[in-house]
């Protein structure tokens, strides 16, 4: 239990995918102009992360045992198909949900956070349950980072930002500051 809690806190805060491990930056830097968008993208991510973690557990157990060298290619194919399937299913089942989340799903395929989750999970030999918790934590961390960045950027629309810093430079520096602030979580629940 303690282990699960640590996995969650570690993946959400201490080793936040975006701010500490540099994963999923394209979306983080590109699609955080408004809170609503960021939140939706985050939720879509969380959803795919959890599904990926589940499928990767199965994949590892049944197939990759015998052919570990196919890992990367198997993972990416699974993720890509998964995203497509999810997209289709949502489209069929709930057009409303699709309108809210659907447009972000394709972006997720090329989001390295998902593939990284699969690889970490495998390298660390997580069980199915641990994998799920890991995915939840990582997804929660992504949502946190995305919405924080979005709310800050909404406020910055009023700021008198010098011309040289406009755009990505400023976003990166904010990300750096957030990352500095997240260092406060270091060692959280390590039991020391």
């Amino acid at each position: 239990m303690e282990n699960l809690a640590w996995i969650f806190v570690s993946s959400a805060l201490v080793n936040n995918f975006t701010l500490v491990l540099f994963l999923g930056l394209c979306a983080f830097l590109g699609i955080t102009n408004s809170i609503a968008t960021a939140l939706r993208l985050g939720l879509a991510n969380l959803f795919v992360l959890v599904l990926t973690a589940g499928s990767v557990s199965l994949l590892n157990y049944f197939i990759l045992e015998s052919a570990p060298f196919l890992r990367i290619i198997a993972f990416i194919v699974v993720i890509a198909s998964l995203v497509q399937i999810v997209e289709m299913v949502i489209k069929k089942l709930s057009p409303v949900l699709f309108r809210e989340l659907g447009i972000y799903l394709p972006l997720i395929t090329t989001n390295c956070a998902i593939l990284a989750l699969a690889i970490f999970q495998t390298n660390r030999n997580y069980t199915f349950v641990e994998g799920q918790v890991f995915a939840l934590g990582a997804g929660g961390g992504l949502i946190l980072a995305l919405t924080l960045m979005a709310s800050i950027r909404e406020k910055l629309q009023f700021a008198d930002v010098p011309a040289i810093a406009k755009g990505t430079a400023l976003v990166l520096i904010i990300a750096g500051s957030l990352s500095l602030a997240f260092m406060g979580f270091a060692g959280l629940m390590s039991g020391a």
Binding site: L156, V161, S177, A181, M183, F185, M189
Partner: protein
């Protein structure tokens, strides 16, 4: 009509009278109220304190002047940033580090956002967080208070970019370090009077509270924030203490140790980086209080005020949105509809 012919009529927008407090006036008043704390720091840590603070202020002013919009030094906010950054550093810090810290604070913490009023994070704390991540050993080497006024408390004059020599003999653990790693408490009276190890400005709790009360009385800082922080830390700390007195210090110990008081009175109250609504301020304060205790008790670091404030700074746009005031006459409509 005897209107002086050579003089133009002036037209301005209403209102045509303003109350006295201007932004520079407020800022300089805060600078003024920091003076006693600087003096206390000098009393405890000798000339080293002055050196470190002066270096931080110099870095802040130089950066503001070089990269700022021009004429912004006079508004006093850069001086506050410099002094506060200096006050959060240990006395033995090489002055080149203090200087770089405040260059970062003003440059990346403030000017990059457009200068005064637009920054998201508290510049002084961002500067300190930078220093802590850049030079973690130097910034956690705490000299003991006391001793001769003229002896340096560390290698203040280390060459730029070079490591300071660390003299273990004159360093000591902070009360929080003792608590976290050795489960030893420090007498409360020492904490209040400031005769303990720690950063320059954080040791004399009572004095800081006094200065803060004066500022709050004059309306230059919002009392809700420090009250919320100190209250939360005290209550949460007491609860933990009740659970396991040997492991966790008392509530009062929690409040008076480390940077809680300096942070809550002078740093969490920086209006630029705090919520604008009163409800928001309560939430902000309670959030900081909780994070401080969580980081102190379950985190890897002995002290978490800086990170707690920075994390809550990041949440301020959120809090502001969530606590928008209800306009006059609007609720009624909703009820009716």
């Amino acid at each position: 009509m005897n209107w002086a012919r050579d003089r133009s009529l002036v037209v301005t927008a209403s209102p045509h009278i303003r109350q006295r407090d201007s932004t520079p006036y407020i800022m300089w008043n805060v600078v003024g109220s920091l003076v006693p704390i600087v003096i206390a720091a000098t009393w405890f840590f000798g000339v080293s304190a002055l050196l470190v603070i002066a270096a931080a202020v110099a870095g802040a002013l130089a950066t503001e002047r070089t990269f700022g919009k021009g004429g912004t030094i006079a508004d006093g906010s850069a001086v506050i940033t410099g002094v506060l950054l200096g006050l959060t550093l240990p006395a033995g810090m090489p002055i080149w580090m203090a200087f770089i810290g405040s260059v970062f604070a003003i440059g990346f913490g403030k000017l990059i956002f457009g200068g005064l009023g637009f920054n998201i994070f508290n510049p002084a704390l961002l500067g300190r967080a930078f220093l802590q991540a850049a030079f973690p050993v130097a910034i956690t080497t705490w000299p003991t208070a006391g001793g001769s006024w003229l002896t340096l408390k560390g290698d203040n004059f280390a060459l730029p970019l070079m490591s300071p020599r660390i003299n273990d003999a004159i360093t000591s653990a902070t009360p929080l370090g003792l608590m976290k790693f050795e489960h030893k408490t420090t007498p409360l009276w020492d904490l209040m009077m400031g005769t303990t190890g720690g950063s320059l400005g954080e040791t004399a709790g009572l004095l800081i509270l006094l200065c803060g009360a004066w500022l709050a009385f004059r309306g230059f800082l919002n009392w809700r924030i420090p009250v919320a922080i100190l209250g939360t830390v005290g209550v949460f700390g007491s609860m933990l203490h009740a659970v396991d007195p040997a492991r966790y210090g008392s509530g009062l110990f929690m409040v008076f140790s480390g940077g809680v008081i300096l942070g809550s009175v002078f740093m969490a109250t920086d209006m630029v980086t705090a919520p604008v609504t009163n409800t928001g301020r309560w939430i902000f304060g309670v959030g900081i209080g909780l994070l401080v205790v969580i980081i102190r008790v379950w985190g890897g670091l002995p002290e978490g005020v800086m990170y707690a404030i920075l994390l809550m700074n990041a949440l301020v746009p959120f809090i502001n949105r969530a606590t928008q005031p209800t306009p006059f006459g609007v609720q009624k409509m909703k009820a009716a509809a």
